[in-house]
Amino acid sequence: MSDLDDIDFGLLRALSQDASQSAGALGRELGLSQPACWRRIKRLQDLGIITGRRIDLNPEKLGFGVTVFLGLKLATKGRVSLEDFERAVSAIPEVQTVEHVLGLYDYRLRVTARDIADFERVLRRRIMLLPGVGSVDANVLLSEERRPGPLGVPQKIS
């Protein structure tokens, strides 16, 4: 990764905003030919830096008005198999992300629902019935923004 240059970072920045841009269009912006640009993108994929792409949908327009983050603690640590819990929680369609964390909670879940009543249904009938679930703490998402990350840092001028 140490041999990535400004152009690679520029590509990552551009693709993490809009992955539908063609290698030709991106190349023009960064001063590369279409084949050179394509080769660089391919390399970033081969290095495992670009792992794939994601479709951005507008949840509200699709009827999903509520996103809730749950901090979840397992009740009987050591007794429940983490794999069983992880498999069961990942199978719930409304659960969008599952992260294993260290700290106040064991897992952090992102849950989408049509409204608060629908969320209550998911919480009571799905989440609370998972094997080993102890306490659950909920925070309703109000706003969210993704930042470009350290790619936006101006590179040192050599």
């Binding site: 693709l15 670009i50 479709i55 992260e99 294993h100």
Partner: protein, 151 residues
């Protein structure tokens, strides 16, 4: 306003975002031009917002990921705005979310290693304005991360 075909298209795109238009059209038993028209409509309706590349920060050398849950001093009416404006200037902050609940704001922060994280935490995070309380969750593993909607 969304019909079954729209839902099927979006479901397929969510589960296999890399698929090309001709492949996707083939899967759905429709012509590429018909699919393109449908996608155009979904875009115009503001349903399909776009697509972005997923970056593996570990592969870029960022081994540490921490979720910081922040409670703000809400006696100051500008607390949210000022906190968020300054958090945006920290390059290692990947996500800023605001909540209704115990937690006011959550920052997702990455660092190269624990020493680097310490530096960011002391120099950039603890100096953010209006913090009443701060709590950290260290990221161990990502079990599910597709962020798909159950369409």
């Amino acid at each position: 306003m969304l019909d079954d075909l729209d839902r099927r298209i979006l479901r397929h795109m969510q589960s296999e975002p890399e698929q090309s238009i001709p492949d996707l059209a083939d899967r759905l038993g429709m012509t590429p031009s018909r699919l393109t028209r449908r996608l155009e409509k979904l875009r115009e309706a503001g349903i399909l917002l776009g697509q972005r590349a997923v970056i593996d920060w570990r592969a870029l050398g960022y081994a540490v990921e921490v979720s910081l849950r922040v409670t703000l001093d809400k006696t100051n009416p500008r607390a949210f705005d000022e906190f968020i404006a300054q958090a945006r200037t920290i390059p290692e902050v990947l996500e800023i979310q605001t909540f209704l609940g115990q937690v006011d704001v959550r920052l997702s922060v990455i660092a190269r290693d624990m020493a680097h994280y310490q530096t960011i935490y002391r120099r950039a995070i603890l100096t953010l304005p209006h913090i009443a309380d701060i709590e950290a969750l260290m990221h161990v593993a990502r079990i599910k991360s597709n962020e798909s909607l159950p369409l």
